[in-house]
Symmetry: C2
Subunit: 339 residues, 2 copies
């Protein structure tokens, strides 16, 4: 386990050194190998999903540490491994992302149709979504069916890609690297005794700088109608305004991982968690809105279907705006609360 200073807020507390980084990387590598073993043992769909999630979880943490604490690691090694871990966690994320996107969109269609979905009836990965659609108005039902078709196809493809990935030589090379990492961390010379905290502070600083560039004053005014501007733009990628928020989401994650290396992952900061959840919601809603807009460009759909997709797109863009408002509030609390 990582060293834990008695009080992380006390500047006189002992330094956390490269040894702690090595401990952390070994622990994450071990987690990765355990998840891989679980996945290879097979099991139900849910067990397999959990194993994939655990694989991604440790891949992201290893990759994050390689980025934040790069000066303490063998440079050539870190630079060759990191893109491979990023490729892996990106590839493994797709299947669950499509499933979550479909669920989000179908739940929104229900909300918009005034037919609340009871928890037991929430559209699961199986065929219950079709039953649910029976209770929707025609346009909403057709929009739901179209999204289900498109996102299920995307999900099936992602599932095949996951299986191909996990059976392929590129993945095996990553798994071998991680297996080595579980026993031997390639630290740079003299890194074992070097203080990690300046590098962790630099990660926090990058986050703070990126947050400063966000339009937080505007986001703090409810109903500013910012997120839907360009909602009908002829531009096929009309939402460059989302990019800085996505970037902050990644930097917040790196900051959180660096905190885990320093303080262990039981030192959670609820405000940081809330800010991260708001940015996850921002990303999910942004992508769901884009999926609705793409579905509306399907040739030969009925006007009622297109209308429902338009309402759905706008609804998700307002979710984007709501997420920015939520982030702004949790971040402001954070800044006020930190001495």
């Amino acid at each position: 386990m990582a060293q834990r200073p008695p009080d992380p807020a006390d500047p006189a507390a002992g330094a956390v050194t490269g040894d702690a980084l090595a401990d952390h990387l070994r622990a994450q590598a071990t987690e990765f190998l355990r998840a891989l073993r679980l996945h290879r043992e097979g099991g139900t769909g849910a067990e397999s999903d959990d194993a994939i999630r655990a694989l991604r979880r440790s891949a992201r943490r290893i990759s994050g540490s390689l980025h934040t604490f790069r000066p303490l690691l063998d440079a050539g090694w870190a630079e060759s491994v990191r893109p491979e871990l990023a490729w892996l966690s990106g590839t493994l994320a797709l299947e669950q992302a499509y499933a979550a996107r479909l669920e989000r969109l179908l739940l929104a269609l229900h909300r918009l149709s005034g037919t609340p979905v009871l928890p037991a009836q929430a559209p699961g990965p199986a065929g219950s979504a079709a039953t649910e659609r029976g209770r929707l108005a025609l346009g909403a039902a057709k929009a739901g069916a179209l999204l289900e078709r498109q996102l299920t196809l995307a999900r099936t493809r992602a599932h095949s890609a996951t299986l191909q990935t996990l059976g392929g030589s590129r993945f095996h090379a990553v798994a071998d690297t991680v297996a080595l990492l579980a026993s031997q961390v390639p630290l740079a010379p003299a890194a074992a005794g070097t203080d990690l905290r300046p590098l962790a502070a630099a990660a926090e600083e990058r986050l703070a700088t990126a947050v400063t560039a966000l339009p937080l004053v505007r986001a703090g005014h409810p109903y500013n109608a910012e997120a839907l501007v360009h909602g009908l733009s002829p531009d096929p990628s009309p939402h460059p305004q989302d990019a800085p928020w996505h970037q902050v989401r990644l930097l917040l994650r790196l900051h959180r991982y660096a905190r885990e290396v320093l303080h262990g992952d039981d030192v959670t900061d609820v405000r940081l968690t809330a800010a991260g959840q708001a940015l996850d919601r921002h990303r999910d809603a942004s992508e769901a809105a884009a999926a609705a807009a793409r579905a509306a460009r399907t040739p030969r759909i009925a006007p009622a279907t297109a209308y429902a997709l338009g309402v759905l797109h706008a609804d998700q863009r307002h979710e984007v705006e709501a997420a920015r408002y939520a982030f702004q509030r949790s971040w402001r609390k954070q800044t006020v609360g930190t001495p």
Copy 2:
């Protein structure tokens, strides 16, 4: 003019009696007749619009006083005149309402397309809207053209209805009644010396009660997504949730008119004005959203048009929600601010 107590907040100030009501009704009747003369003298479209607006303004105030202070007026007379005034102001309101609705929807389409409309280019009553549409994406442009066609037709019909109304015998009867009112107010026996304030307080009480029934706690939570619930409902009139807000808008107006009778119309309450403007915006956005939804049911429209109308509908429903939030805030200030 109405009597003005030196300090309206001072309970020891002199009572405002039925005489003040008679003064107020005579003044409003005189305003009505002046506006009617202006309209008959003809003039530009803008002058005619102003005359119609002034006619409605005094008709609403006379009608409001007849309602709030009914016990002080000849009962049979008040009950026969009031529905006629309501019919008149309702009929005269339509033409300007359609024009304002079209302008609101075209401005929203521009905002949603990321093509800001400069003040000089704002779509006026004339043909400039067609030029504006040239800068919109295809779906938005077609949606704009469809709304322009439908609302311009409705407006033209309302214009004819206004002309017919002002030339018809039903209107002449109203005008005769108002002409009599300008010289002689049919007060009930002993009303001249009766205090108006309990009746004005009752109007305020009806407003307060109706506000209490509004879901203000929910409205005070930004992005509650309430206004768009049922946005895709199969029900053709899916927004009964708007009705209590419309009702509060009318009661707020009656309260404001009663204040004018008591204190003169130069004693404006900025918070009351803000609350009233929020409810006007609520009504306008609610009706604009309904117009977009109706346009989307036009047979044989292109999917891109229907999609744009869906986005537009959702956008206006969010305006509805934003207006509720704004009302809640101004009302809360009001309640906190009042001793």
